[in-house]
């Protein structure tokens, strides 16, 4: 028997049986809940076949093993099994894999291209199966179900190898808590820090590294391992020890909380939510959002934020599974998420109240999300006042759509080159590139009114609100004098360094 076995797959595939898993005698719950969720989720992705690798080394398990499982009387293996899922039937999969290998023999470039194409068309992701019957689901990266209304900005490509093929899947890693080296807090941090692997090229820490860093200087909850859970202070400490700034926000008002969460997602980060229910606190990672155009954008004193149209958040909940959709209760002032009860049918929800939002942030981003939002609010006031006064309209008739985010400088510049908000012409782009020096991360405040189009304010993220610096005001309106005049007004009002407006020879140009 080889190391890889192929199987047909559908929603009824009994993974417990196939993997020969048996519930430990005194396990208090269902250790295979996450595995069964993954089966159902992959079925909705169109999974038709799977490959089972009988032996693979997973760095995250190996480190957990070396610190914890190797100390057990039982001989836990340091190797895992791994399931790969495909949207091809078993026989088609065999043929397709052979075809890729044949094409790939023509050279390295063709090998990569063939593997990329095969992955994007047919590969749905993988799930590491750890040699523990009480918590078998290890590092799992599956495709997210992106759609018109569901967005997952923090997805990153992960590469694995199977039978000579390099397979790529874009996702955010998930695993079930193992009650040994990691509880929900550790697992949420582990999933959240994944985004820095892409933007900062950091090696993602393993669960045991996170738990150790969190517990190295304080143990308010008892022993470190087996994990007794973490305090918020310990969660912050573990991030700090990894050179990452923990940005913590108290979730007191739903609309402020949603604005911060949405801004973090838009910034391609993976925020952590701490939630409370019946006196128990739980941590989950937010991996995406679902927008409902049916929800009205309700402005608060002239400012509308698209976060108010969030129908739900997609979560990695280690009790359940990846990309779980948690609807937002828009009738309450607190942020309450409805989560499918783990022991209930899908129709029954648990209601969790979000108490805190923890966002691991690149340390040179000194400006906080809340400060950036205040700056956005103040700039919105200036824009609304100017438009209202200039056009003789009542203030209440002028609404500004406010969106904030932190973006890497090159990512923002790229958005000016192509895409829906590219600059109007080459000369505007050239002047921007010649005159604007951006920090590694730039705070972007986007203000949109029906009269001015979109105007971006670029804030130096290495400053704080009290010493803020606006690096540029960018008008995206193609040929619109109103947008250009409004941008010039904001440029003067905010004492910004640079004004970028579409018309090259216009007297507005500075």
């Amino acid at each position: 028997m080889g190391n890889t076995l192929l199987y047909a797959f559908d929603a009824s595939t009994d993974l417990e049986k196939l993997l020969e898993l048996a519930k430990p005698a005194f396990h208090p719950g269902d250790p295979f809940r996450q595995l069964n969720y993954i089966r159902s989720y992959v079925a909705t992705l169109g999974g038709k076949s799977m490959a089972l690798e009988l032996e693979c080394i997973d760095r995250h398990h190996v480190e957990d093993h070396s610190v914890y499982y190797s100390k057990s009387l039982r001989s836990y293996s340091n190797t895992c099994r791994r399931l790969h899922f495909f949207n091809l039937a078993e026989t088609e999969l065999k043929v397709a894999m052979e075809t890729v290998l044949e094409k790939a023999q023509a050279g390295a470039a063709l090998y990569r291209a063939a593997c990329e194409q095969f992955s994007s068309e047919h590969y749905l992701g993988f799930s590491v199966i750890k040699p523990m019957h009480g918590a078998p689901v290890g590092r799992t990266v599956l495709r997210a179900k992106e759609g018109k209304h569901s967005h997952f900005p923090g997805l990153l490509p992960t590469r694995v190898h199977l039978k000579g093929l390099e397979l790529t899947v874009s996702g955010i890693p998930f695993q079930q808590q193992d009650y040994g080296v990691s509880a929900c807090a550790t697992t949420a941090i582990w999933a959240s820090l994944h985004y820095l692997r892409g933007s900062e090229n950091l090696r993602s820490p393993t669960p045991v590294q996170i738990t150790r860093l969190a517990t190295q200087s304080q143990l308010p909850n008892g022993r470190a391992i087996p994990s007794e859970g973490l305090s918020l202070e310990q969660m912050c400490s573990s991030m700090q020890s990894l050179g990452i700034a923990p940005c913590l926000v108290a979730a007191k008002e739903r609309y402020v909380s949603l604005a911060v969460i949405h801004a973090a997602l838009r910034s391609r980060m993976v925020p952590i939510l701490v939630m409370q229910r019946n006196g128990v606190h739980h941590a989950v990672a937010v991996t995406g959002s679902r927008i409902s155009p049916a929800l009205e954008l309700v402005p608060k004193f002239g400012i509308a934020e698209d976060a108010s149209s969030l129908e739900g958040l997609h979560l990695h909940d280690d009790r359940r599974g990846p990309y779980l959709l948690a609807p937002v209760d828009h009738t309450k002032s607190a942020l309450i998420l409805q989560i499918h009860g783990v022991d209930e049918s899908n129709q029954v929800f648990e209601e969790w109240t979000v108490t805190h939002i923890l966002i691991p942030t690149y340390p040179k981003i000194h400006l906080s999300f809340l400060e950036l939002r205040v700056i956005g609010g103040m700039a919105s006031d200036a824009l609304r006042a100017m438009v209202a006064k200039r056009l003789g309209k009542p203030r209440d008739d002028v609404t500004a759509l406010l969106a904030i985010q932190f973006l890497r400088g090159p990512v923002y510049v790229e958005s000016l080159i192509h895409g829906p908000y590219r600059l109007a012409n080459q000369s505007q782009l050239d002047r921007f590139l010649d005159h604007v020096v951006l920090p590694r991360y730039v705070g972007v405040v986007s203000l949109t009114t029906e009269l001015t189009g979109r105007i971006d304010l670029l804030l130096d993220s290495t400053e704080t609100q009290h010493n803020s610096r606006c690096l540029a005001v960018v008008s995206h309106s193609s040929g619109g004098l109103r947008g250009a005049v409004a941008a010039k007004f904001l440029h003067q009002e905010l004492r910004a360094n640079h004004l970028s407006v579409p018309a090259e020879d216009s007297p507005l140009t500075t």
Binding site: G29, Y179, C184, P220, G229, L230, S231, L232, M235, C236, V249, A250, K252, E253, Y255, V280, H281, H282, A283, E296, L297, V298, P299, K300, F301, A304, S309, R319, V342, H356, S368, L370, R373, V374, G377, M378, D381, A382, R384, A385, A388, K389, L391, R395, T399, P420, T448, E450, T452, G453, R454, S477, G479, G480, L481, R482, G483, A484, V485, K488
Partner: protein, 77 residues
């Protein structure tokens, strides 16, 4: 609170930015008019006072106490 009547058009602007037609009614000469700028400054201040609650809620979200950091996260279902 008045619901935004134009929410659908604002949504449209997010994904499909409008190409505004040039408007002459908003030239930029007024930018140099101190009297007019003073009027706008008053209008801005009025906006901020009117929207004080928005700023207060934002500020409160950033106010954390020792109790916040002691919250124990340990859900074991």
């Amino acid at each position: 609170m008045r619901a935004l009547q134009t929410s659908s058009s604002l949504f449209a602007m997010i994904s499909d930015p409008p190409s505004l037609t040039p408007e002459t009614e908003m030239d930029d000469a007024w930018l140099e008019d101190p009297e007019f700028r003073a009027q706008i400054a008053q209008e801005i201040e009025a906006c901020r006072v009117e929207r004080q609650q928005w700023y207060v809620h934002n500020q409160e979200a950033g106010q954390l106490t020792e109790a916040d950091f002691a919250v124990r996260i340990d859900c074991r279902e």
